[in-house]
Symmetry: C2
Subunit: 375 residues, 2 copies
Amino acid sequence: MTAFNFELFKTDGNARRGRVTTAHGTFETPNFMATATAATVKAMNVDSVRATGAELAICNTYHLMLRPTAERVADLGGLHKFMNWSGPIVTDSGGFQVMSLSKLRELNEEGVTFRSHVDGSSHKLTPERSMEIQNLLDSDITMCLDECTPHPATHEQAASSMQMSMRWAERCRKAFVKREGYGLFGIIQGGVYEDLRTESVEKLSALKLEGFGIGGLAVGEGQEEMFRVLDFTLPLLAPEKPRYLMGVGTPSDIVGAVMRGIDMFDCVMPTRAGRTGRGYTHRGTLNIRNARHADDPRPLDERCTCQTCKDYSRAYLHHLFRTEEILGAMLLTQHNLHVYQNLMKGLRDAIAGETLEDFVKTFHEEQALGDITAL
Amino acid sequence: MTAFNFELFKTDGNARRGRVTTAHGTFETPNFMATATAATVKAMNVDSVRATGAELAICNTYHLMLRPTAERVADLGGLHKFMNWSGPIVTDSGGFQVMSLSKLRELNEEGVTFRSHVDGSSHKLTPERSMEIQNLLDSDITMCLDECTPHPATHEQAASSMQMSMRWAERCRKAFVKREGYGLFGIIQGGVYEDLRTESVEKLSALKLEGFGIGGLAVGEGQEEMFRVLDFTLPLLAPEKPRYLMGVGTPSDIVGAVMRGIDMFDCVMPTRAGRTGRGYTHRGTLNIRNARHADDPRPLDERCTCQTCKDYSRAYLHHLFRTEEILGAMLLTQHNLHVYQNLMKGLRDAIAGETLEDFVKTFHEEQALGDITAL
């Protein structure tokens, strides 16, 4: 078996170029995960996901504990076999979705009881149960159960929420079944308050976990505030452990966070946008449903090397979205994931070559151009 | 350029093994077309369609004339380029969908005026306009505009409807732009009446078209009655031209029709079933939403060589359908099309080896077994 490991190859400013090794293979950092909430990247088959360059998938504890259940996934040989993804898998703890999706939730020191958004059935999620579920799912990277502190929160609210999450992290540490190649990440909370983030980092560092999640960001505070929190939080972290900024973000968010030293990202944006007609290009975003694309024989992004851009025109994609054909969601999701993975590769290469500053400058200049004009 | 051509290699009883050559390549017969109504096989990308063994696609004049319009497809380089399908394409004439989908339709000798089911806009389809549209789409096999006689119809109704369709076929013949490698098929009507089918065959044969469609079947008359009509109609047809049974059908329909001498088929069943959770196996059909599949680690069909059966369990497919994930429709459509294409290959090989009788016997015996029992 392989030990869980993070190698840091190179830095450029605060940005880091590395590699994480897990029981199910490696992934290069900075890395953007393919979002596979319910054990599927929406509208994508596994070969297409791989073709975008994705190496790491993230699945959702809350969704999977309800359907098909963690016990069922375990009986079927674990998540990798179930969803035919042989690479590394991260699972979140379920805490975020319990608070955002479930009904009649009640949170106390022990954990959270809630009713399923699917059928109203009653469930309980504690730190111990979250560890058990993620173990049953066989995820390579398990996330501690935490409470995602809402924004805005007073210092008192953020402190009390963070401190409970830190007590939960200790319980997660105890309940987590150590296995070669598997890791447990703590999640730093503390809202926008430097003293609280510092306290959170100290408590998690004492637990000697395999990596850090940074939670409670991208919840409405804005990019500037998010970067400010990263600026005072990241220098507190041991450099030899990977850092995962949870639920982030736009290409611009990712570029700024990589510059500050983040190694891992996940976000539903490229897949959700792909199902709703929004496409990412090196010149910003576009809405393929817009009438100006109806006669346009050009690809979404002339510079893009994805299968969608190689084989299909904007006019065809426009047609598929106007006629509500599933292939529209399939092709645009594939393109958007490719754009994200291509951005990550560009960032990795720039850090390795110590050309990150130029890369970022060009990135922002091109994004500011806006989409190509209609023919 | 290549001439439009049908080669008949071999017969076994009335069944025929052949090959059709078109401007965009060849397809082996008997052949089942991939249904690409709105210029996409629903929930499938082109590579996956090809992987099922499909060689021929069928697109829909009615749907495409409304969106994106035939003129737009022509401006974009034709249907093959638009939808990235380099192989041969059949287009139907639009007559069937005008009658089944549109609003406020009015049919007379000149043609049919109707309002779009999409936006209520007014349109007119005549034999000449149908030929023009199919020419703009650049389809390899153009179908004559006809009226699909409803079932049941009196002899008088069926006669009058068929005779108008035959007058329309003459107009189609005149309006069709002859091009090397492109063909026009007439459509035999006449309901369930032998004298009317005979009259229809005679009139179409006089037009010296490239092939025959058999229309007005699979409209509620039942399999036995459909086979009875084929039994007296097919011997009337010149053997050197391909015969296309339109809109048919179940695997059992196809087997019976191939035995009677049909060369080409199209049907929405395998793709529509794939989106609604119905799977085809060599032991008949199953509903993957059924709870008995929730824990089943076995593939849909242990004998099937498709990607879905190689990589995924019934339990996973069940999960995808229960959670309404798009990948469920993608994987089950791929499987169902593979089953259909595999059946066609089996039929072709059996005819070539003069073992059709045994093949058909085994087919019916296995279908009668019913799906494998739950674990």
